[in-house]
Amino acid sequence: MSNDYSILIGGEAGQGSRKAGLIIAKLFNKLGYRIFIYDDYQSLIRGGHNFSQIRASEKEVLSHREKIDFLLALDENTIKKHKDNLDKEGVIIYNSDRIQSDQGIGMPIDKITKELGGIPIMANTALVAGFGKIVGIDWNVIEDVLKKEINKGIDLNLKIAKKAYQDTENRIKIEKIKQEPMPLVTGNEAIALGAVKAGLDMYFAYPMTPASGLLHYLARYQKDFKIAVCQLENEISVINTAIGSAYAGARAMVGTSGGGFALMTEALSLAAQSETPIVIVESQRPGPATGVPTYTGQADLLFSLFAGHGDFLRFVIAPGDADECFFWAGEILNLSWKYQTPSILLVDKQISESTFCLSRDVLDKVKYEPPLFWNGQGDYKRYKDTKDGISPLAFPGQENVVSKATSYEHDEFGITIEEDEQAIKVMQDKRLRKFQKMREEMEKLEAVKIYGNKNSDQAIIVWGSTKGPAKEVAEKLKIKMIQIVVIQPFPEKQIKEALKGVNKIISIETNALGQMEKVLNCYGIKPDNRILKYDSRPFLPEEIEEELNKIL
C-alpha cells in the first residue's frame, strides 16, 4: 500500500490549530509528500471547534478523507468529535494537562510551555514537535519549518518544541519520498498568483468569507506584485471602482461570495454594456442569504450564469484545484480583456481555503496577453463597429483620444442613442458578434477534462471542488469522470464528445437543486442519477464511493 496519511489537529478557535496544521503539512512536504489540507471553522473568534485535516500522500491528492491516522487534540472536544473516524491502527496524541483519555499518547504540553515561560498558544508548537518525534521526523526538519513559519518569539517556541521533542518517545518512522517539496497554496492564493502572472494591476474587495483570503494575500504582497490593493465601503463600490480602473487601462479584479456578488449584479450588467473588462471571483458558501458562512457549497452556479439584467454573455469558469485556479485566473483575466467583457471565476470555500500543492509547470502557462489596442489612426471610437464585434481599446490620458464609455445604449463614439431603433440594433448586433467569438474561443480551450477510465461506459459529471474527491473514486472504480471547467459559454460540443460511448451518466454536486444537471438538461443531456450533498460540508471520497456503489 502506498504511503497516504491523514492527520487531524483540532482545538478551540484561538488555540492555533490552523497554523499548526500548516506546519505539519510543511513537515510532510519536506519529506517529499503531496499535501491537501481541509480547514474547518465557524464564524466566531474564540471557543467553538476548529480543525485542520492534513492528507499527506506519495501521490497527488485533492481531497481529505474520512479515516484519520493521527488525531492531535488541543482540547477534549476534538477527541469526542473525531475518534469515531480514527483508523483502527490510528493514534490519538493529546494534551494530557487538559484532557483525560483512556487511549493514545498524552503529552504534558501545558506544563512544558509554562515551565519554559511560554504563552498558552505555544502549546500547539509543543504538540507538533511531539507528533514529529512520534512519527520519526528529524529534529532539523522540524527546526527549519518552525523557523520559517513562526515570526514572533521563535527562540522560545524552538525551546518549547525541543523539550517536547526530547520528552516524547518515537513510535514509528515515516518514510521519506524521493520527490522535491512543492509550494503549498490555498485556492485563493493560487488565484492571486495566476492573476498577477497575467498582469493584474488592481484588486478591490469588501471582506467576505471565503473570499477574504484573496484580499489578505494580495494586500500582504502588493509591493512584491507591484499592484494596488484596496478595501472599499461596500461591494457596489468595489465593482464600480474596478470598472473605473479598467476603463482607465488597469487590469482589475474583485472578489466576494454570493451575498456580495448579489450586490454587484447591476454593475455586472454595466460592465457588459460598457464593454469593460472585469474579473469577479465568486467564492461560494451555502445560502440562501447569510447561510452557513464558513462552510462550502455550489449553489450559486445558476446565479453566476444568469446574474445581471439585459442580454449578455460572460465567461464563467470553475477551477477544481490550485493548479487550475492559477491557470484559469490568468486565462480569465486575459480573456476578459481580449473580449472586453465581465467574467466570473466561480470557486467555493472548499477550493478557496483548502491548501494544495502548486505545480511549477503551470507557472509558464500563464502570461500577460495584450488585448486589441487602437492603432492611432483616425478619430478614436470606443465602440467602433468591427467585423468581429471587438472595438480597439484606448484610454483617457492617451494623445488624441476621447474615450467615452457608457451604460446607455450608444453609437460608436459612445453617445447615447434612444430615438434611432436601427442604431440600437446595430450596437446589440456588434455585441452578438463578439459573443460568437467568445464561443469560438471557448472551443479552443480545455473547457472539459476527462479523468479515470476514459473507455468506461459509465460517467460521472462534476465541476469545481467536487473534482478532488470524485477523481479519486473514479480512478478507484475505473469509471469515467467528466469535469466541466468552462461553464459559459457552454462547451456543448466538448461534453457531447466526452459522452460518446457512455450509457449511464451520474451528476455529482454540492447543492440541493442539482444546478449543473439543469444546465445539462438545456443541452439535451439527461443524467440518469444524481448525487447531491447540501449539508454545507464538502464531499469525502468515501461518501461518493458509497453512493456510487448503490447506483452502479
Binding site: 506584485f225 472599499l232 465601503e233 473605473g244 482607465a248 487601462g249 511549477r360 484610454f395
Partner: protein, 283 residues
C-alpha cells in the same frame, strides 16, 4: 479655443439651468488647458439623471455610469491613472440618495477627485419626486400631500466626512461657478462643489435663490468652526435666511491615492515580479 462640443442633440428642457453649468464647466476646462492641463488628461464620470446628459455634450473622456455610482467609477479611474484629473458630475438624487455611501467615503479617504453636484433638489428626469435636499412639504408625484422628511445639509455632511474642499455655487452665477470649479480641480485632495440649480419644469426655485444668495467674504476657510457656522446659515428648508456661496472649507491633507500608490502607476507595463521569491515562502 478648442471645440468641446459633440454632435449630440441637446435634450435638456429649453432654459434648463444645466446649460449654465455646462457653460461654466467648459470655461473651466478651457482655462485649465491654458494652464497646461490638456483635455486628454481630464476624465469625467456621471451617474443617471438630467445632470448626466452633460457628458454627451462634451467632447471629453467620460464614463456615463450607473445611477448613484459615478463617484466609485471616478475613484477607480484616479487610482488606475493618477496623472488624470478626474471629475464626477452627479445629482442630488444620484449621490445624496442612491449613492450616498460613495460620497461619504470618497471624502473620508480624501481621494484626489472633484465632485460637482447638480442640486435641483428633486428627481427631475423621473418627473418630480423628492430627494434628500427637497424641502419638507415639497409636493411631488410620490408625495402628493407634501414630503414628510426634513432635508439634510450636504455641506454639513461633507464636513463631518472630513472632505478637504467644500464649496457651494449657483447655476445663475456662471463666472463664480467657473472659478469654483477651477479651484476645486486644482485642490489636491477630495473637492466637493454643491451647485444650486432651479428646475424650471418641476421646482423653479430661481426667485428664491436670487433673493437669498450672497458671496462669502473674509471667510476663514481653514477653520472648521467658521465653516460649520457658515454652512448652517441655511438648512435647505424654505425659511427666510441668506444662502452663502463660495468656498466654506479648504485644508491640505495627504491624499488617498498618493498614500496607497506611493509612486506606483499601476497600469504601467511591463512589470517585473519575482515569483520565485514569493513561492519559496510557501514551501
Amino acid at each position: 479655443m478648442e471645440n468641446l462640443d459633440t454632435y449630440c442633440k441637446n435634450t435638456w428642457c429649453p432654459g434648463c439651468s444645466n446649460f449654465a453649468i455646462l457653460q461654466a464647466l467648459k470655461q473651466a476646462v478651457i482655462s485649465l488647458s491654458e494652464k497646461g492641463i490638456s483635455k486628454e488628461n481630464i476624465a469625467l464620470t456621471t451617474g443617471i439623471g438630467c445632470h448626466a446628459k452633460i457628458v454627451d455634450y462634451l467632447n471629453l473622456n467620460s464614463f456615463y455610469s450607473l445611477h448613484g455610482r459615478p463617484i466609485a467609477t471616478a475613484e477607480g479611474i484616479k487610482l488606475a491613472n493618477p496623472d488624470l484629473k478626474v471629475l464626477t458630475l452627479s445629482g442630488d438624487g444620484d449621490s445624496y440618495n442612491e449613492g450616498i455611501s460613495h460620497l461619504i467615503y470618497a471624502a473620508k479617504r480624501n481621494i484626489d477627485i472633484t465632485v460637482l453636484i447638480h442640486d435641483n433638489r428633486l428627481f427631475a428626469l423621473t418627473t418630480g419626486q423628492f430627494t434628500a435636499t427637497s424641502p419638507k412639504g415639497l409636493k411631488g408625484r410620490s408625495t402628493p400631500e407634501g414630503c414628510l422628511e426634513e432635508p439634510f445639509n450636504p455641506l454639513e455632511l461633507m464636513l463631518a466626512s472630513n472632505a478637504t474642499f467644500i464649496a457651494r455655487g449657483y447655476s445663475a452665477k456662471i463666472e463664480e461657478l467657473k472659478n469654483l470649479i477651477i479651484q476645486a480641480i486644482e485642490h489636491k485632495g477630495f473637492s466637493f462643489v454643491e451647485i444650486l440649480q432651479p428646475c424650471i419644469s418641476f421646482f423653479n426655485s430661481y426667485q428664491f435663490y436670487q433673493e437669498r444668495v450672497y458671496e462669502l467674504e473674509d471667510h476663514d476657510f481653514i477653520s472648521r468652526e467658521q465653516a460649520l457656522k457658515k454652512i448652517r446659515e441655511w438648512n435647505y428648508n424654505g425659511e427666510d435666511v441668506k444662502i452663502p456661496l463660495g468656498i466654506f472649507y479648504k485644508i491640505q491633507k495627504p491624499t488617498f491615492n498618493d498614500t496607497l500608490l506611493e509612486k506606483l502607476n499601476p497600469s504601467k507595463r511591463p512589470k517585473q515580479v519575482d515569483f520565485e521569491n514569493v513561492l519559496n515562502t510557501h514551501i
